[in-house]
Amino acid sequence: MGPLYLFSAVARHNQWLSVRQATIAGNIANANTKGFKALDVDPFEKVVDSARLAMAATHAAHIGVPAAAAAGPELRAAEAWEVTHSGNSVSLEQELIKSSEVGRAYRLNANVVKAFHRMLLASAKG
């Protein structure tokens, strides 16, 4: 069996999801702050694409190439449904929809990990 990258992939996705949840929380908390622009994180696909794997130095002559520092997802302005007169671009409905999306994805991840963990345990116990 080849190496299983599932757990690290899930961990990374969950990390991204929790950053997104924190961003959404910031948006909702500032739903009534004048001039506040709603933020969102880069899509996960983009974060994965930009992440590079570290090259292993298996020989004395190899020059270790440090992996790109595991930078957190970047924040950028979200596309706004509405901008109020005070210049605030937070839409509570939009943020709550995003928040429930995050919750759903997180639950899916947790259940996938659980299922795989059960599978590993089943084979370990024999």
Partner: protein
């Protein structure tokens, strides 16, 4: 950034606090909707308005919200003719507070809605933390 889920809880809490301060100001305005001056010709209660400010927290790396200054914008008092009132001026007019009940109630509903949204975020974050902890539970 600290643990984003912990940060979420803190941000949600700051939102809840800001909205409850707003509700406090609204209730103050409503309670004093009829508060006139006690001296003749004096100014009555002036409506208060709360504004919010986004505050970047370096430790959390996130935008918290803070209830900013409580302002009392340029008052335009309503005049009521009631010469027997203790606060009536020489012409018999009493200045009534510039509180519009309808506006205050709208503000209250909005504070309510924002409070609920913040609460929902806190709930969601708690659920996510619980899901992670549940992974440790033996199946």
């Amino acid at each position: 950034m600290a643990d984003p889920l912990q940060a979420t809880l803190k941000i949600g809490a700051s939102g809840l606090e800001a909205q409850s301060t707003r509700l406090r100001v609204v209730s103050e305005n409503l309670a004093n909707a009829q508060s006139t001056a006690t001296t003749s010709g004096g100014d009555p209660y002036t409506r208060k308005i709360l504004s919010f400010e986004a505050e970047f927290d370096d430790a959390l790396g996130a935008n918290l919200v803070r209830a900013g200054n409580i302002e009392q914008p340029r008052p335009s008092f309503r005049l009521n003719h009631d010469p027997s009132h203790p606060a009536a001026d020489a012409n018999g007019y009493v200045k009534l507070p510039n509180v519009d009940i309808l506006v205050e109630l709208t503000d209250m509903r909005e504070a309510n809605r924002s409070y609920e949204a913040n609460l929902q975020v806190v709930k969601q974050a708690r659920e996510m933390i619980a899901l992670t902890i549940d992974l440790l539970r033996s199946t």
